[in-house]
């Protein structure tokens, strides 16, 4: 019904709806749209990199532009593609999985999205305003503090704004999962995706502030003449490395853990078995998250921290392999004895296991300090983290999208195109990155604009570049699939996969209040419990009554826009006086909106019982 209404509405009305929405399902759409957009950009940057490295001493792009490409590829993929796509999936599924009508802070949820979006926009504006950041996504000082032009300024401001959005999102999900669970949904009955989203949110909460401070220090050094990283005034550039990796390593787990949750849900759904070792899976996830904070210096083995620090961090790093191994074996055991149904969603999950295992293996290898003296900052490491982040995160996002697409949009993604996407991407991926392990060991450092002729690196790089085009093809097919599905796709039933968790107990797509009556949860995999007991539907936990829902608001958009404007003010205030107008104007806009929000009561609205009854007919 809702789709029919949507189609009749004018474009302007739909746009306004999305600009002001606080509905987690629409915010999920926005996150997926924004993340998808930046994923394409990051992918194009990757292609430029691979074309440049296709042959020795190539001059497809200049050295300076190449550094901009590699910086923006990394930054975009991590902060502007992977993070929002994950947050998109979390928004789409978590409230439904716990039987909630919305998130705890719908307004902040929207604010988080718009901050991310405007942060991403400001970062990408740099391409048109004198050059993108060029100091690598790690932006090591003093290269980043001395980088000429405004590129790194855009990096600092863009990430600061986007990072604030992510932090808000993290707090929102923490409170949502703690306070908004349906009756009977105890912690140890939560689906693994909800669990991993919860733990990820804890990581976001404690990791992102380190980045915030790092970026502030970098910003102060670049824009306000401070001396944190200026050696001549007593500064110390290693502080940046520490702050960055205190954030950066948990960030890796922020990127991977939610997808572990997706895979857990998928394996159990498509094998028709409950997750093997549920408790162990939950605690393994917690352990990974906890250890994730103890290992940041393994990115700094060559910095010269000394053998004691290096050894401690090496052992802590190796320890992470244990809970990760538990997870891999538990997944296999989940499928063991089941009846495995393979479709495009499951295909990604199955492709993930060998791929991610390779990434994990090389992870243990790079944890061995002295071996890492060879791997560090070479293509071996490039291969390693792509096996983890693409093989884990991106595969997981694809899996999650195929899995929840019917729930989100009411249509099932085309299976044939799904298979095509998977196979081209999967093969392309291994072609691109497997060989890079060896390239690294054969003497190719990462972030190299050219490699010299006769270095023995030609064949490997050529293979790698060819693989990249396979991956690009796969992604194009996926986007074609989206369009195809929107136009001609098969309509989805409420529960297309014979699901086990609560999201499959409501309509596809759900009404904006998710559940007319909040369901009563009677065990792990609540819907499955009802199915095995022959009922097949959830028992309501409350009588039909008025539903309280939050009001939409345009303020999050305006607040983020204010910061966006102020961001330009910060970047240009050293050069032009007019930039102060932007700076103060933007900040005034932000604070004005905050005051409005704070002082104007917003009590939400009620959907009366009568209306709900009418809809039922």
């Amino acid at each position: 019904m809702s789709t029919a209404v949507t189609q009749k509405r004018s474009f302007g009305a739909v746009l306004w709806d999305y600009l002001t929405t606080v509905d987690h399902k629409k915010i999920a759409h926005l996150y997926l749209f924004g993340g998808g957009l930046f994923f394409i950009l990051g992918g194009l940057e990757a292609l430029v990199i691979r074309i440049q490295l296709m042959q020795p001493q190539n001059d497809f792009v200049s050295a300076g532009l190449y550094n901009e490409m590699l910086t923006m590829h990394g930054t975009t993929m991590i902060f502007l593609a992977a993070m929002p796509l994950i947050l998109g999936l979390m928004n789409a599924a978590v409230p439904l999985q716990i039987g909630a009508r919305d998130v705890a802070f719908p307004f902040l949820n929207s604010l988080g999205f718009w901050l991310f979006m405007f942060g991403g926009l400001i970062l990408n504006c740099s391409w048109f305003l004198g050059g993108a950041p060029d100091a690598g996504w790690t932006a090591y000082a003093p290269l980043s503090t001395t980088s000429p032009g405004h590129g790194v300024d855009f990096y600092v401001i863009g990430l600061q704004i986007a990072g604030a959005g992510t932090l808000i999102g993290g707090i929102n999900f923490l409170v949502t999962i703690i306070n908004m669970r349906a009756p009977g949904m105890t912690y140890m009955r939560m689906p693994l995706f909800t669990w991993s989203s919860f733990i990820t949110s804890v990581l976001i909460l404690f990791a992102f502030p380190a980045l915030t401070i790092g970026l502030f220090l970098l910003m102060f050094d670049r824009m306000f003449g401070s001396a944190f990283f200026d050696v001549s005034l007593g500064g110390n550039e290693i502080i940046w490395e520490h702050l960055f990796w205190i954030f950066g390593h948990p960030e890796v787990y922020i990127l991977i853990l939610p997808l572990f949750g997706v895979f857990s849900d998928l394996f159990s759904t498509f094998a028709k078995k409950r997750l093997f070792g549920y408790t162990a899976m939950v605690f393994a996830t917690m352990l990974i998250a906890f250890l994730g904070f103890m290992v940041w210096a393994h990115h700094m083995f060559t910095v010269g921290l000394g053998p004691v620090a290096n050894s401690i961090f090496a052992i802590a790093t190796m320890a992470i392999a244990v809970p990760t191994g538990i997870k891999i074996f538990n997944w296999l055991a989940t499928m063991w004895g089941g009846q495995i149904k393979i479709n495009s969603a499951m295909l990604w999950a199955l492709g993930f296991i060998p791929t991610f295992t390779i990434g994990g293996m090389t992870g243990v290898m790079v944890a061995s300090v002295v071996a890492d003296y060879q791997y560090h900052d070479t293509y071996f490491v490039v291969a390693h983290f792509h096996y983890v982040i693409v093989g884990g995160t991106i595969f997981g996002i694809f899996a999650g999208l195929h899995y929840w697409w019917p729930k989100m949009f009411g249509r099932i993604l085309n299976e044939k195109l799904g298979y095509l996407t998977f196979w081209t991407f999967f093969i392309g991926f291994h072609l691109t990155f497997f060989i890079q392990h060896f390239l690294g060991l054969m003497g190719m450092p990462r972030r190299y604009w050219v490699y010299l002729e006769g270095s023995g690196l030609d064949t490997g790089n050529l293979i790698s570049s060819i693989g990249a085009f396979f991956m690009a093809f796969g992604v194009i097919v996926f986007f074609y699939n989206i369009v195809y599905t929107a136009v001609k796709g098969e309509k989805a039933v409420d529960d297309p996969w014979d699901g086990r968790t609560l999201e499959w107990a409501t309509a596809s797509p759900p009404e904006h209040y998710n559940f007319k009556q909040v369901p009563l949860v009677r065990g792990l995999d609540p819907l499955w419990v009802e199915k095995t007991e022959g009922k097949g539907t959830m028992t309501p936990a409350e009588p039909l009554g008025d539903i309280h829902m939050p009001n939409g608001s345009f303020l999050p958009f305006l607040m983020s826009l204010g910061l966006f404007i102020a961001g330009f003010g910060f970047i240009y205030h050293m050069d032009y006086n007019w930039a102060y107008i932007l700076l103060f104007g933007g900040m005034a806009m932000l604070l004005g909106c905050m005051l409005t929000r704070s002082l104007k009561d917003d009590l939400g609205h009620h959907i009366p019982k009568e209306e709900l009854e009418r809809e039922a007919d």
């Binding site: 802070f105 707090i171 306070n179 404690f206 401070s226 200026d230 502080i239």
Partner: protein
């Protein structure tokens, strides 16, 4: 939730947690403070790493005078106590007394801020010690200034709250707001205790 349910005849014992929104706000704010803790921890770490990097400029021992800092500590600690009184009166549904104690809290906060501004101008004019003079200077102003910024923000927040609710009194909608403010204010206070120890005492003694 109708207006009526937010203004019950008898205020519950913990008005800040009586509604789901209130509970969410309460919990969310605690998490926010958790993030803030990391924020300050990073600044403390940076400061400790750079406190001896004066690059020939004035050092901690030359700059800091404990008298003023002691006064500031007393002002802020007392303001924390007065905000406790305010919350106490909130729980007793005594709006006027709550406003009064919040007012005193604000005054003490302004006193603290004035001292801090005086301290900074003193360093700048007497010693030429600025944000740009050395890595130590940068780290000092970043840490202490960041805290000062938090105080300023807190005061703005407090005054906005007090004015907005001056006429309508306490209800279940604004009780969580007052309560989260008091949490924030205690947090700032705790951070100051650490600044006092790490920056001033260790700078003078260590």
């Amino acid at each position: 939730m109708s207006d009526h349910s937010l203004n019950p005849e008898v205020m519950p014992n913990e008005p800040e947690k009586a509604t789901l929104e209130g509970k969410n706000k309460f919990l969310g704010f605690w998490f926010f403070l958790g993030g803030e803790t990391v924020l300050f921890a990073c600044l403390f770490g940076t400061y400790i790493a750079l406190r001896n990097s004066a690059a020939g400029g004035p050092t901690e021992n030359e700059l800091f005078g404990l008298e003023l800092v002691f006064l500031m500590t007393i002002l802020l600690l007392t303001s924390s106590l007065t905000s406790v009184y305010a919350v106490y009166h909130m729980k007793n549904n005594n709006f006027k007394k709550m406003q009064l104690w919040l007012g005193i809290t604000a005054l003490l906060g302004f006193g603290f801020l004035a001292c801090e501004l005086y301290e900074f101008t003193h360093y700048i004019h007497e010693y030429g010690f600025t944000f740009r003079s050395s890595a130590f200077g940068s780290a000092f102003y970043a840490l202490v200034g960041f805290h000062g910024g938090h105080v300023t923000f807190g005061l703005t927040w407090l005054i906005a709250l007090m004015i907005r609710n001056a006429k309508r009194g306490l209800n279940l909608y604004n009780a969580p707001k007052f309560y989260t403010f008091s949490l924030y204010w205690h947090f700032i206070d705790v951070v100051w205790v650490f600044i006092f120890t790490v920056v001033y005492l260790m700078g003078k003694v260590g």
